[in-house]
């Protein structure tokens, strides 16, 4: 089981992130917790809802979170993919999910996620991180060591999340 960072701790992760094959479909396992691509959620909604095991959805950088705005109650986790860590579209998706669509559950950054981006990702609402392969999740926790200033005023919230 892969290790991820969740709520600033390294934990074992039970979720399987399903990637589409070339034809856009995914092989859906019979059991277990799965995070499916947005297109799969939209095309196989009923099958997914009838299935045993946890359900999550992942958005790619060019996906519009508005497509799941009415579906949030069906998911236990929402993941956002960062194709390259320099592709910042996912930061906007995170804020939209939290601030516009009211997602309160786990918001996970996946893909090319590195420790040096964790601080900004956190401030955009992400609370779970599946780091790029080969990254040391325990060492990455140092990214959270920065002083936490009191979020007492709007100004601090705006500047420091």
């Amino acid at each position: 089981m892969a290790a991820i960072i969740r709520q600033r701790q390294v934990v074992a992760d039970s979720w399987q992130l399903l990637k589409p094959a070339a034809d856009g479909t995914v092989a859906l396992p019979d059991v277990g917790d799965v995070i499916v691509p947005l297109a799969v959620w939209r095309s196989q909604r009923d099958a997914l809802l009838g299935r045993a095991g946890g359900l999550g959805v992942w958005l790619d950088a060019n996906d519009d979170p508005a497509h799941i705005a009415g579906d949030l109650g069906h998911f236990a986790v929402i993941a956002v993919n960062f194709p390259q860590f320099t592709d910042g579209r996912g930061y906007s998706i995170g804020r939209l999910l939290r601030e516009r669509y009211g997602w309160r559950g786990e918001l996970r950054a996946v893909g090319d996620v590195l420790r040096d981006q964790l601080f900004y990702l956190t401030r955009c609402g992400f609370d779970a991180f599946a780091l790029r392969d080969g990254q040391d999740a325990n060492a990455a926790l140092a990214a959270f060591d920065r002083a936490c200033l009191p979020a007492s005023s709007e100004r601090n919230r705006r500047r420091l999340g």
Partner: protein, 566 residues
């Protein structure tokens, strides 16, 4: 001068510690070059032709004397005793060592400075009018708004990895001295009928490969909505700006491809969700920031100085300097003084550590301990008593910073070019010097009158050649350095983009071409009041083209110059 509060200071201190750790990991091989690059760029560090180039932010060009002394210290200790003031009101050092940069950042933090977001695909240093707060034609003092934008943009978590860099300029005067029409976002502060502040918002302007004038997004955006509206523009750009081709990735391309109307509609749709939200500005927030600005305590009813009037009448050199380098001030008895970093033989915008220390002393003595960096790459003492001007002039002259050429042809704006920059196709500095030497006769220079000449070493246009009355662009012609000349560009309210005159020319030919352009201008102007740019606009570029590339230029240039000056 804005003074940091505890949060500002802690943010900067934390960033120093963070970058120290990142640099350590990079040097230890724990962080690859690809993973480190965006991190160092967001801390101002490029890898250049010979060494890293390190760019330090001077927020909206405002600098305290103690900060300038810190820059002098850095120039001596970690560089080669000089720095280069850039067209974005920043300063660049060309010779630091990568491993020293964390220490340089720590030194900067002690004087409330940093290099955050001076490079990389993020929101860069906000620039403004170098006469902000002092100009007689000012409608709104832009400084507090610039600081509000600085606090909003610095460490903005959503917009650290944009498709491309993003530059915001703010003007608060009748005359636009901040080139707001050629920025990613241009803000023109104004007042409505009730006197309330708001902004005309432009988006999608820019220079570079695809020079464009910004499109008007909003004619009057109330100040309370400034940050929510900026968030909306940036979010649309962040989500939909092109990321497949770095030359098509600036916001201007998105605005152009969508059309300004469609882009505006998308921004408005986004803004409908953000307007009135948590980032809405309040009077309390604006006051909080305004109160942290130290403002000059001007003497009231400063009497007109008879000594000053006498010196003007008596001393022609002083008179020349005042005419060119001293600008009027909103407070009677005061003036804004430009120290020219455009002396012939010195790369435009360069200052030595000794000059920086000396200017810091002059700022303390004559201008409330503050100065400005202009996007024309000069230094400005913005609050000088008229009665002190003669004494100041003598001190500035001794420093080699009194060349009376502000607004004239030799006040050349130039990027560092191929001497330093790894992006450049061609050198800028020797071209600037050759032109300055050709026009070394002050009377001739003054006779030519107002003329902006800009040089960029490549299409990235750091020297803003598109908006020079005469623009010079370095191009690569089968491995050789050539220069493409354009005319008719302008900054300011009637901003326009220059048109290419004709085939590019060699470095040696550039001064001749400039001289020919000037000759034809002098011949065709209807009075001394008609500037070069006015003549180009009136008669078009064809006569200039013909004159430069036709048979006329066989005449000995010096002979015609004598005629023109006669």
């Amino acid at each position: 001068m804005y003074l940091y509060d505890e949060i500002d200071q802690r943010l900067v201190d934390e960033r120093v510690a963070q970058f120290r750790d990142q640099t350590r990991r990079f040097l230890a091989g724990e962080l690859s070059e690809d993973d480190f690059r965006p991190l160092r760029l967001q801390n101002g560090l490029y890898i250049q032709r010979f060494a890293p180039m390190f760019r330090i932010a001077i927020p909206y060009g405002l600098l305290a004397s103690r900060q300038l002394r810190a820059l002098a210290y850095i120039a001596r200790k970690w560089d080669r005793g000089y720095g280069h003031f850039s067209t974005r009101q920043n300063i660049q050092f060309n010779w630091p060592k990568l491993e020293d940069v964390p220490d340089i950042l720590a030194k900067l933090a002690t004087v409330q400075m940093h290099a955050i977001q001076t490079s990389g695909n993020c929101i860069r240093n906000t620039t403004t009018d170098h006469f902000a707060g002092t100009a007689p034609d000012e409608i709104v003092d832009p400084l507090v708004w610039c600081e509000i934008i600085r606090q909003w943009s610095a460490f903005h978590p959503e917009f650290a990895y944009l498709p491309r860099k993003f530059k915001i300029a703010v003007s608060g005067s009748e005359a636009d001295r901040a080139a707001t029409q050629v920025h990613d976002i241009g803000l023109q502060a104004r007042r409505d009928a009730s006197g309330s502040v708001g902004f005309r918002v432009l988006a999608g302007g820019g220079l570079g490969r695809t020079p464009l004038i910004g499109a008007v997004m909003r004619d009057f955006l109330p100040w309370q909505d400034l940050l929510t509206y900026l968030d909306a523009v940036l979010r649309v750009y962040n989500r939909y700006g092109r990321r497949d081709n770095k030359y098509r990735a600036r916001i201007k391309i998105l605005v152009k491809e969508l059309t300004p109307d469609v882009f505006r509609a998308q921004v408005e749709e986004e803004w409908a969700h953000l307007q009135g939200g948590p980032a809405t500005l309040t009077t309390a927030e604006v006051d909080r920031i305004e109160r942290r600005f130290t403002r000059p305590h001007y003497r009231q009813s400063e009497p007109a100085s008879s000594a000053y009037a006498g010196a003007l009448a008596r001393d022609k050199a002083f008179n020349n300097w005042v005419r060119r380098n001293v600008q009027p001030h909103k407070v009677a008895g005061y003036a804004a003084v430009t120290l020219s970093l455009k002396k012939t033989g010195v790369p435009p915008g360069d200052a030595t550590a000794d000059q920086m220390d000396a200017v810091a002393d002059l700022a303390d003595r004559f201008s409330f301990g503050e100065l400005r960096v202009s996007h024309e790459q000069n230094l400005i003492l913005a609050d000088v008593r008229q009665a002190d001007l003669y004494e100041l002039w003598q001190a500035v002259k001794a420093l080699g910073l009194a060349t009376p050429n502000i607004g004239l042809l030799t006040n050349i704006i130039a990027c560092p070019g191929g001497d330093f920059c790894s992006l450049a196709n061609a050198k800028s500095i020797p071209v600037a010097e050759a032109i300055q030497r050709r026009f070394d006769d002050l009377d001739y220079l003054h006779d030519i009158g107002e003329l902006d000449l800009n040089i960029s070493g490549c299409m990235n246009s750091c020297g803003h050649h598109h908006i020079g009355h005469i623009g010079i662009l370095g191009v690569d012609k089968q491995g050789a350095e050539y220069y493409q000349i354009s005319i008719g560009g302008a900054q300011g309210n009637d901003a326009s983009l220059g048109k290419v005159l004709g085939p590019s020319v060699s470095q040696a030919e550039v001064p001749d071409v400039i001289e020919h352009l000037i000759e034809l201008y002098l011949e065709r102007r209807d009075s001394e009041e008609e500037r070069f740019i006015d003549v180009v606009r009136r008669i078009g570029i064809e006569p200039f083209k013909e004159y430069v590339y036709g048979s006329h230029h066989k005449t000995a240039p010096s002979r015609r110059r004598q005629l023109a000056a006669a």
